[in-house]
Symmetry: C3
Subunit: 291 residues, 3 copies
């Protein structure tokens, strides 16, 4: 497996590499392909992919341009996994999110989900809304500052699938009736010089002790990480704080995905099959490209 990372990452790269090594495979790694590969000399992504596929059996790509994973997959004769392509998609994150909900709550059908924070720029909430729509009787609450509201493309998609959703500005009220509160970081880099807007947006919806007080006992707090202060550290010790377990699930889901792509699903053990539970319901084709 070759991990080509053109953007910083901790969780995604390390969990992919840990996954491959636990499966017994080897890893070729690039921590900073943007500056220390031939990309710095002007090589196209396509040429890099054609070269690297000669040295590996599967490629994991994080890139700063939306659509880069699609271009790479169209070029390669081996599987390419999209590990995030700029503001585009981050499909394995959505997979691990859905898997985490299943593990934590016990079911996906019928859940009530609060998506909180930067819903305009966060690729994880966008991918998650898209994926979760494939299950039954889902209800979604969007809670976000006005400047970073969920965009119409996702709302239209949910409407077309008959998924109920509503917008709210009352985080406590939403928390009191949800199974999952999915908090996200306000992305400073999207605000340019309007630091004032960023500061206002950033402090608006914080998951803290007050949220825990109204949150149902069986419910959980999720976050794709990294976080700044949109989930306060006092929340960490509550058993409903699921975000570090969520990060660990990235390992399992990526092990299952790699095994599926490299050897088919016959040899999956029960644990890995559990990780693939949700993948059975989704279109793997939208996530990766296998030729």
């Amino acid at each position: 497996m070759a991990t080509l990372f053109y953007e910083p990452s901790t969780r995604t790269r390390l969990s992919f590499e840990a996954a491959m090594r636990r499966l017994g495979g080897e890893v070729l790694t690039t921590e900073n392909a943007r500056e220390f590969s031939s990309a710095a000399k002007g090589e196209t992504l396509e040429d890099t992919i054609r070269t690297v596929e000669g040295y590996s059996d599967i490629i994991v790509l994080r890139h700063f341009e939306s659509g880069a994973a699609r271009r790479a997959a169209d070029t390669a004769n081996i599987p390419v996994i999209n590990a995030g392509d700029g503001p585009g998609q981050h499909p394995t994150q959505a997979l691990l999110d859905v898997y985490t909900i299943k593990r934590e709550i016990g079911t996906l059908d019928g859940i009530k989900l609060g998506l909180v924070g930067d819903l305009a720029n966060g690729r994880t909430v966008r991918s998650l809304a898209y994926l979760i729509a494939k299950y039954q009787n889902i209800k979604i609450y969007f809670v976000s500052p006005d400047v970073v509201k969920m965009k119409d493309d996702i709302k239209d998609y949910l409407n077309s699938k008959g998924v109920e959703w509503e917008e709210s500005s009352d985080l406590l009220e939403v928390a009191s009736k949800c199974d999952v509160i999915y908090q996200t970081r306000i992305q400073k880099e999207r605000f340019g010089e309007r630091i004032d807007l960023y500061e206002a947006a950033r402090g608006k919806y914080i998951v803290d002790k007050k949220v825990l007080d109204v949150l149902p006992k069986h419910a959980v707090i999720m976050h794709p990480l990294p976080r700044l202060d949109e989930v306060t550290v006092e929340v960490d010790s509550d058993p409903r704080a699921a975000y570090f377990r969520q990060a660990k699930n990235g390992l399992y889901i990526r092990m299952a995905l790699l095994k599926l792509l490299l050897v088919g699903n016959k040899s999956l053990d029960p644990c890995e099959n559990a990780a693939l539970f949700c993948m059975a319901n989704v279109h793997v084709q939208i996530l990766v490209h296998v030729t």
Copy 2:
């Protein structure tokens, strides 16, 4: 194997690491030794080598200074492989080039070879001209902009070996009678502020559809990569476009080289022996240093 890379690289580092892992060995890697090793604190290359040889059985070094590999090899008590030393040499590239010609054309003796592009600064064409001179009845055509012509040291060397060569400004005519067209990138960084000269040189000799039209059926296009637009992408789908196969051969030649250096050549399997075919004709001593 420790890979110490003081300069950006995709192909060379990843193919060396893939080679070692396919042989069952382990890899210690530095993607950017210049900034993130003790070199940043002023340590000499010699001291770094003496330290790293304590942790590894073989060192692969790419450095920005000509002669760095020689200094490292003189210091170390384990084999040091030169993976490119600034404007100096890039011997394993020459090995894989010669191996690619053998695999693609079937022979090395008697071939006609067109070296195109930046012949003054390209260490790969310089190394290749030097190596190919060891075979019989070679004919070389140099096709390059005036500002980056092949230098006299190589011409003198070819003369001393009785190798026929000529300079030409007609790429199409050369392509019509060659077995191999070896195109190279014009290296912008060598032109300093004379961007006008660079732009003029860069557009002069392009391998495109017109070249394919006159190129013999059995012939091939090679390129050390990365490329910009000196080989157009329309060429990629032609079976005579050998440059991605050439990049992949880097894996085989490096596997063979590592095995030769670490366990001797007794245990090479037939495939690896094929990779070493051309090495039998050259002086391995000029490429690496084994103490």
Copy 3:
């Protein structure tokens, strides 16, 4: 094993990674965690640790802040090894130093040790003075420019342990009666704009041929590396120059440490037990945190 390095390193990272691989384990590596991990997005060290512990069985951390290793260890549920925390401690260096003295001299009790160079800022000499105090009948000579003298906290500690020490400005006289001369680099970065003070301090105590001439036959020169010119290269060929052997001992001591932490000390082979000789006398708890 995950190696999280927020500062440049050659010896420490590569020897830890080589150690783990020789033990049969796998490595997740970050060469430059400061810029290319989520730390760049503002994630706290604690959050990074909680994530990475999900993907690994042991963490090796080098950080630029004093106390970072302690914070990481307090957070993690797996062992965290301090591989240097800013101007704080570098305990595995102290371990390999003590192990080197034992191997080179044959004993630790009763030795005479000259600590030379930057005694104020060098975390290795500070840690070594602390560790060596646990042995019997030690005598320490401090030889340093006035601006970087050993600080009172270590002197007070040695007094409380009854360890004899004195300060000297005569390197040759000290060298003539020591078993070990431990030279260190004057750290330019600590002098800010007072380059004149740095230059004066830097040239003051140099280990060269003259020091070798008076050094006892059985004695050794040690240095944590990297060095600039405070040990001249003419010294390298003398059998008493132990610094490259010392660097290699880092491999053995780290293998022993990893094995101890991961599988207990029952399965250590004789060689590894030798590496752990000195660790038996010290408090492993001060070095790492195991929960």
